[in-house]
Symmetry: C2
Subunit: 244 residues, 2 copies
């Protein structure tokens, strides 16, 4: 299922038309000076990741993008009953399956924090249909994690809790770039990010919840087009979410 | 107020007794091969950050450490009324002040996610009194952010919401190392991390809430030693927290 890895950095190629070799003999001199596949997406390079300001001529840009949040349901209660080793093994599997799915659809695995993963679609690799790519990645995450159910069950054996994943997706204009001057961090911020995170927080195990903005762009690809209203922390009005 | 920056990597020195120059002419050849001050703490190097496995001879280790979470109160509602530029400027200030305070007390600024910052005390720079260092860093964050109140007010002008910071601290044994095999991420996990995060979630603007474990270690340094019980999501029993 794993797609062939790109030989040159897709980000540098798209943004600057510069071919940065990522793999093979040609990549050796680049690796010596620190240019190697990014941890956020192995088909882009550390230059894309670290030199945002130099490439984009700005510390932050406003882009249209899709944000995906995935997290392990019941993680807090699991973390109270499982050993640190079991939790570590569980996260290893979860992060790896998320990474595999996100990279398969050219997304950027921007953050992992505890049991949550945040991905950005449409930067540095541009995608016209980024909302759809994010939805396909989300389904792939659910599929991949379901396929490792037995391993999860082995790890959580005594806890009597089933490991499941909840996913939230939203798209729209957001601010992407380096935040902080002394501790620079390449990430996305804005309402779109928060809304995606909140949507994820109400997704049940195995569910993908997407906003009306995502629904508009992916249309018939959704499981159904019937919205359900959710009361979310920090939001004045209930948010309409669709099953993805 | 800013302390002088270390000339060699404190982490490599403590863990391996190897002096890695971080600054000055001696650091040039090291920079060429990618060894430079870490973004997580400029007094440690990228080797500490990226070569954990090689140095520690394990992908994860169990250590006694302190975790600090700080976050901007009312961020979600602010993000709905402020422009992306204003939110970006607000986070720049917040991240920088957190970084300054955390590094001042030798902590590792491990993560920033949206409006939250997560720091680890006692790795890679070892500190006997890491709980106390974290508490002092937390007070410094509050002091520094309070000092920039006017700038925050200017950014949030029309929103009518005052920017404040809530902080939670917990200490104990946790798992530290690289999680995920394809997307490797250096971080800490375990109940200690979750509890610190939950403590932060109930801290009011300007407050620092610490657990009984922290109270035991810092003792008389606390503002008072009267605990208040808090009902936290995912916890069976209320958690006793002290004002730090």
């Amino acid at each position: 299922m794993a797609r062939q890895q790109s030989l040159i950095c897709k980000g540098c190629w798209q943004q600057m038309h510069v071919p940065i070799p990522l793999r093979g003999a040609l990549s050796v001199p680049f690796r010596v000076v620190g240019l190697r596949p990014s941890r956020m997406n192995p088909n882009t390079c550390t230059f894309c990741e670290l030199m945002f300001k130099r490439v984009m001529k700005a510390t932050k840009i406003t882009i249209d993008a899709t944000i995906l949040f995935a997290d392990v349901r019941a993680y807090t209660s699991l973390s109270q009953s499982l050993s640190a080793t079991a939790m570590g093994d569980l996260l290893d599997i979860f992060y790896d399956e998320c990474a595999g799915a996100i990279w398969e659809y050219d997304g950027l695995l921007n953050k992992t924090i505890g049991d949550a993963v945040m991905a950005v679609f449409n930067f540095p690799i541009r995608q016209e249909n980024h909302a759809r790519q994010a939805l396909l990645a989300a389904r792939d995450i659910q599929r991949r994690c379901a396929a490792r159910k037995a391993e999860f069950a082995e790890l959580t054996g005594d806890a009597g809790v089933e490991v499941g994943v909840g996913i939230g997706i939203h798209c729209g204009e957001l601010s992407f770039g380096e935040f902080g001057r002394t501790h620079r961090d390449l990430t996305a911020i804005g309402t779109v990010v928060n809304t995606a995170s909140r949507a994820q927080s109400v997704a049940a195990s195995g569910e993908i919840l997407v906003t009306a903005a995502v629904c508009q762009r992916v249309g018939d690809d959704l499981r159904d087009r019937i919205a359900k209203p959710y009361e979310l922390k920090g939001f004045d009005r209930p948010l309409e979410l669709y099953l993805g």
